[in-house]
């Protein structure tokens, strides 16, 4: 085995060696540097494997035992960090080739020494030696900043030197007094000598700790780091962000190990404040590297906070900290390197990677790594972290971590949206023909996925890569070069095939959801055959969403459930983002979704009671002290997905701007995920009271208000798809209401809504999408009179609106009938009144939908349009047939569910009687077949009569109308469509004030204002930065006095 001292000696020797070369031999020097880096990486890889099984080993110098000489300690974490540092060095060297050659061999020597010093920081067990390596790091950092072509870089270097002077002073004073107090400089020796037990020792320890923490770039003493990030060569930023940060974080952990757990809160608090502040300030950044810098600071802060939590993390400490640290490392390395191949420095300049699917994929991978989305390490790590925090009752920290992450989600996904959706300024800003650099990025991406796999393997909770649906989805990434139609067939086959394999094992409720997801998804996917070409990126996202959905249905533990939840969120986000104008909407979607996901995470972690997961079926056994809170968090989280009022503002845009065949998926199917969650929650936890408030009662109100306001907002929309989107809010309100009724029929009604809403909303979105595609607009008043041109679409919409409005004889009526029966036994009557109002209002927007599009006056420019494409019509006709089927024989789908639900309400009868054709309850009865037949016969008879008496009607054209003895001027002025319900707006418009939108807008505005205001503390003046550091030290000192 190679001694770790090699990692010090080899680069030093190489550095001294290459400085011997003459100027002409730069290339040789570069090759030698590269070779050294490669060798060191290989050796460190070897170490990783060596120490995988063995425990820590100490290496001594000077032939003397510590504490009298300096020693190194090597164990698995150290080995991993060394590998990380050296790999970063290796790739950066590759990436830096041109700059290194320009700056000459000395710069290579400095780079080598930098990497060496970082390894030293990790390995050494002597505080003074640590100081030496820290100084080496600081000085070499100061030098490497110069690799940048940016003229501002030297100033940044000087700022760092100024700050590091201050750090040096503190550290040295601390070290000497620590030595004085204990008589040793060895870290283990200091621990044994219980440094922190004496007053002087405590102070000395404080100074050492604060000095090391200062190198972690804590808020507010981190302005200098930002300036370095912004001006340095991106590849050096990689080293600075990844390797340096990791090393000093490790050093902090080492120093903290000297003292007892009572010092951990310093790390936690400094870390979390840094995390929050950095992420907040990042919100108003437009410079890419500075943004990445802020993000790096935040991530370091997070790891620091985790280091402060090692007392509760126990065995999982390394798994958690490592997961987040490594994920950040890989992601940040990748992002900084990417910034190296992009010329502009504004976030919007990154639009040049449009058209490079691989780069986009890499970028997506990196932000997923950073945020901790499955299947990446930080996901597992955050899950365990949050569970530990909840288990230990550290809720403020938990909240702040999630809040900070949400801020991070905000700016990273906004950036992603900008990259994909903004128009690039001009072509060719991307640096061309840099295969070397692209290889580095590709390798980083691969490492990211590899780590995801590794963390899954290590996870005690389950391996996400072992789930067939996810693998199926990921396989589409590899197949993305195939034509869209082949991929479409594959996806459909996959969905149907999976259903065929699995359905036998589902319970009736799961079966309903699974059919909606898999079979329903397959039907909607039929519309995908309309696309020619390759449709890059669509299928991975779509199948990912479906994979998440079906895994959600199948999940048995909270971990599986949450992983599935995030997978489906991510998949649907990418889908939604594909829409033309969807940038802001996709962003608010992901923000609300992940915000909701974090609430769910909180809920689960509370429920787990210190464990790392909980069986979903066991949710009911959560102790009464936390149960209401679990309920509250989970319910809120699920309601972000069902877009309950107050949390709904993402939905209209997201659904309306999505592509034609995406809208039905995200509306008809995706919303059901939230319902499934709620259903699960209510099934397991039942009624909960918080401060005497019945939470299901609150849900009732939320459901009713969602129904009312969703419908009310829908009637004032001019955009057809937006109208449908608001209608979804209303419909989900109904379903939520049904669930919250907490009785048998209420749940049955919710299940009926699951089926019905899927069918008619998918159908309507497809029809309207087809119309919008043909007419080139989504605004209804620009359409009109399309009935004659698009009769099939019209039929679909007609059937759809009859079904939605609940008018017999179609299937919507069944839902209403069950609803009335369900509320008969409800304890709460006031919310019902609200819901009663919502019902007829649905009628308004539905009529408007069909009237302003298909009826009224056909416009000049639409006179030649054709029926929607064949493949859009096919699923619509299937839906029509389905609706008829459900209307005639609802029992096929519902009878078993009815029975299944019955077992949750053993004490009340409540179920329906399905015998014969008539469906009856305790209160009433209903015979769908009879209704259909009666209505059909009546209708046919009357029509026959009309045809008889009116057999020779003259067919006239659209302007042949009675127009007060005049004639119409143009179709546009004759089509009454815009602001269709003006009187209604006068009467009830006050209810549609965008209060919720304004609320969230204010929240984001405040955040941005705060971000913009407070980031001004980073004045750019090096002296001010030093004062910040001083202030930071004094503040932490005052804080630690209180410990």
């Amino acid at each position: 085995m190679v001694s770790p001292l090699f990692i010090i000696a080899a680069p030093l020797g190489t550095a001294f060696f290459i400085s011997l070369f003459s100027k002409e031999k730069q290339r040789l020097a570069f090759l030698i540097t590269l070779a050294a880096m490669l060798l060191m990486s290989l050796v460190s890889l070897h170490w990783v494997f060596t120490y995988l099984t063995s425990g820590p080993v100490d290496y001594y110098t000077a032939g003397t035992l510590p504490p009298f000489s300096i020693n190194f300690r090597m164990a698995l974490p150290e080995a991993c960090l060394i590998l990380l540092i050296n790999l970063t060095g290796l790739f950066s060297t590759l990436f830096l080739k041109n700059s290194l050659l320009r700056m000459g061999r000395l710069s290579m020597a400095v780079l080598l020494i930098d990497i060496m010093s970082l390894s030293g920081i990790v390995l050494t067990r002597d505080v003074f030696n640590l100081f030496v390596f820290l100084e080496l790091m600081a000085i070499s950092t100061g030098g490497l900043v110069l690799l940048s072509e940016d003229n501002r870089a030297p100033a940044a270097g000087l700022k760092y030197l100024i700050v590091s002077q201050l750090v040096t002073i503190l550290l040295l004073i601390g070290i000497i007094f620590a030595y004085h107090a204990t008589g040793t400089l060895n870290i283990d020796g200091l621990t044994v000598a219980s440094l922190t037990h004496s007053t002087g020792g405590k102070l000395a320890f404080f100074l050492i700790l604060i000095a090391v923490i200062a190198e972690v770039k804590p808020f507010p003493a981190n302005g200098w780091a930002l300036d370095i990030y912004e001006s340095a060569h991106p590849s050096f930023s990689v080293i600075f962000s990844v390797a340096s940060s990791s090393a000093v974080l490790f050093a902090t952990a080492k120093i903290l190990s000297i003292a007892g757990p009572e010092w951990l809160p310093i790390a936690s608090n400094v870390g979390i404040i840094t995390f929050l502040a950095a992420n907040l300030f990042a919100l108003s950044q437009t410079n890419d590297r500075r943004l990445l810098g802020y993000s790096s600071l935040g991530q370091s802060g997070l790891v620091l906070a985790i280091i402060g939590q090692q007392d509760i993390l126990g065995d999982h400490y390394l798994y958690v900290a490592g997961g987040i640290l490594l994920a950040h490392a890989v992601a940040k390395a990748g992002l900084f390197w990417m910034s190296g191949i992009i010329k502009g420095r504004e976030l919007t300049d990154w639009t040049t990677i449009q058209g490079h699917p691989f780069l986009i994929f890499s970028f997506a991978t990196f932000i997923a790594l950073l945020i901790g989305l499955p299947p990446f390490p930080a996901f597992y790590a955050k899950w365990e972290l949050i569970h530990s925090l909840a288990g230990a009752g550290r809720f403020p920290l938990l909240a702040m971590i999630l809040l900070g992450t949400l801020l991070e989600v905000g700016y990273l996904f906004r950036w992603f949206g900008i990259i994909l959706k903004r128009k690039p300024d001009g072509p060719g800003v991307l640096q061309k023909k840099r295969h070397r650099k692209r290889m580095v990025i590709a390798a980083t991406t691969a490492v990211g996925w590899g780590m995801g796999y590794l963390w899954g393997t290590l996870s005690p909770l389950g391996h996400l890569f072992h789930a067939t649906p996810l693998l199926f989805a990921l396989s589409f990434l590899l197949l993305d070069w195939l034509p869209a139609r082949i991929k479409n067939s594959l996806a459909i086959a996959g969905l149907v095939g999976y259903f065929a394999l699995q359905y036998a094992g589902y319970n009736p409720m799961q079966l309903i959801f699974a059919s909606v997801i898999l079979i329903g998804g397959a039907v909607i996917l039929l519309a995908g055959f309309d696309n020619t070409g390759r449709r890059i990126g669509f299928y991975p996202a779509t199948v990912l969403m479906f994979a998440g959905l079906i895994q959600l249905i199948e999940a048995r533990t909270s971990f599986d459930f949450f992983a599935a939840w995030e997978i489906l969120t991510v998949g649907s986000y990418y889908l939604i983002l594909r829409g033309k104008q969807s940038e802001p909407h996709a962003l608010s979607y992901i923000l609300f979704s992940l915000g909701g996901a974090f609430l769910i995470l909180t809920g689960f972690s509370l429920a787990a009671q210190g464990g790392y997961q909980i069986e979903l079926q066991m949710l009911g056994t959560v102790p009464q002290s936390v149960a209401p809170w679990v309920f509250l968090f989970l319910a809120l989280g699920f309601m972000t997905k069902t877009a309950a009022i107050g949390l709904h503002i993402w939905l209209p845009g997201a659904h309306a701007e999505a592509e034609t065949d995406v809208s039905p998926m995200v509306s008809g199917i995706l919303l059901k995920a939230g319902l499934y969650g709620l259903m699960l929650l209510l099934m397991t936890m039942g009624k909960q009271q918080l401060y005497g408030v019945e939470l299901t009662h609150m849900l009732l109100w939320i459901g009713a208000l969602s129904a009312l306001l969703g419908n009310l907002l829908a009637i004032f929309q001019e955009d057809a798809k937006r109208l449908l989107a608001y209608s979804s809010i209303g419909q989900m309100g109904y379903a939520l209401f049904g669930l919250a009724l907490m009785n048998h029929l209420g749940w049955l009604m919710a299940m009926m809504f699951v089926i019905n809403h899927y069918i008619y909303k998918s159908m309507l979105f497809l029809s309207i999408g087809g119309v919008a595609r043909r007419t080139g607009t989504k605004e209804m008043y620009r359409m009109g009179g399309l009935l004659k041109l698009m009769p099939l679409s019209f039929i679909a919409v007609l059937i759809g609106i009859i079904a939605v409005s609940g008018v017999p004889p179609l299937s919507g009526f069944g839902g209403r009938w069950i609803f009335y029966n369900a509320i008969m036994t409800s304890e709460y009557r006031l919310p019902i009144a609200v819901l009663f109002l919502a019902g007829p209002i649905a009628f308004l927007y539905l009529f408007r939908l069909i009237h302003t599009i298909f009826l009224g006056q056909l416009k000049d420019e639409h006179r030649r349009i054709q029926e929607a494409p064949f493949w859009l019509i096919v699923p619509q006709m299937i839906f029509v047939a389905l609706l008829m089927g459900v209307a005639l024989v609802p029992g096929v789908a519902l009878r078993r569910v009815d029975h299944y639900i019955g077992q949750f309400f053993p004490n009340e009868g409540g179920g329906l009687n399905w015998s014969g054709m008539t469906i009856s309850s305790d209160f009433g009865y209903w015979n769908p077949v009879a209704i259909m037949v009666v209505v059909g016969v009546m209708f046919a008879t009357l029509l026959a009569w009309l045809l008889f008496v009116n057999r020779q009607a003259q067919v006239v054209k659209q302007f042949n109308i009675v127009y007060a003895a005049e004639r119409p001027y143009r179709p546009e002025t004759t089509h009454f469509a815009w602001n269709f319900y003006a009187p209604y707006r006068k009467a009830l418009g006050f209810l549609t004030q965008p209060l919720v939108t304004r609320f969230w807008q204010t929240v984001t505005d405040l955040l941005h204002a705060a971000s913009d205001l407070f980031r001004r503390i980073y004045t750019g003046n090096g002296q001010v930065y030093a004062i910040h550091l001083l202030a930071f030290v004094v503040m932490v000192y005052l804080y630690s006095k209180g410990l």
Partner: protein, 213 residues
């Protein structure tokens, strides 16, 4: 011709351009045809009786005579007693009363309204002006003889005729309908070209289809 009725070139949403000719694309071009009575005499008689007992008047006042119609709705005359009602839309009306002088501008609207009524339909000329122009016999912008432009079933003379005269006129019309003599709509269809020629002679800016369905 008005600009909005001229041919125009339009670009569709998918980029194709085509021409729209409003008079063809937006209006039905068919001409009226003579409508035969019901195939059975008994039924036709029944219908005629019903038509005579249910006369729905289009509320369209063309001239000063319109004021003489309002009293018919009041308790003093109460025309509803005779099955006479007013409808706001020509589609549902059977009887068009030209109440007084008819300017050329109004004639255009009257023709439209008349053509939009469903047959069988009846026209009553109210007052002298509809017969020979009355006191406006030499006016430059009123028509002199309503009969040239629309098939008038009945004239009620006077300047102005009293409501009582109107009631008497309705009774006369009822008798005509019952006798099967009020076939103005068919007359109009049979002599369509003649009527159109007359109409277009006075209406110089003819900007409507030949027959307003």
């Amino acid at each position: 011709m008005k600009k909005e009725l001229e041919k125009r070139t339009v670009t569709g949403p998918d980029g194709q351009t085509f021409e729209v000719e409003p008079l063809i694309d937006y209006y039905c071009e068919a001409h009226p045809t003579v409508q035969p009575p019901a195939y059975s005499k008994i039924i036709e008689n029944l219908f005629n009786w019903a038509r005579s007992e249910s006369i729905w008047i289009l509320g369209f006042g063309t001239g000063c005579g319109a004021i003489e119609m309002r009293p018919l709705m009041t308790p003093r005359f109460d025309a509803y007693r005779y099955g006479i009602q007013w409808r706001p839309t020509p589609r549902q009306a059977n009887l068009l009363i030209i109440s007084g002088y008819l300017s050329v501008k109004t004639l255009k609207r009257v023709i439209r309204s008349y053509e939009q009524m469903q047959s069988p339909k009846y026209v009553i000329g109210l007052g002298s002006c509809t017969i020979n122009g009355g006191m406006y016999w030499d006016s430059y912008n009123t028509i002199k003889r309503l009969d040239d432009y629309l098939p008038v079933d009945l004239y009620i003379v006077g300047c102005m005729p009293r409501p009582e005269a109107l009631l008497e006129g309705f009774n006369t019309l009822k008798r005509m309908i019952r006798a099967g003599n009020a076939e103005g709509a068919n007359t109009y269809a049979a002599n369509f070209d003649w009527y159109k020629t007359n109409q277009k002679r006075v209406i110089h800016d003819w900007d409507m289809p030949d027959y307003n369905w």
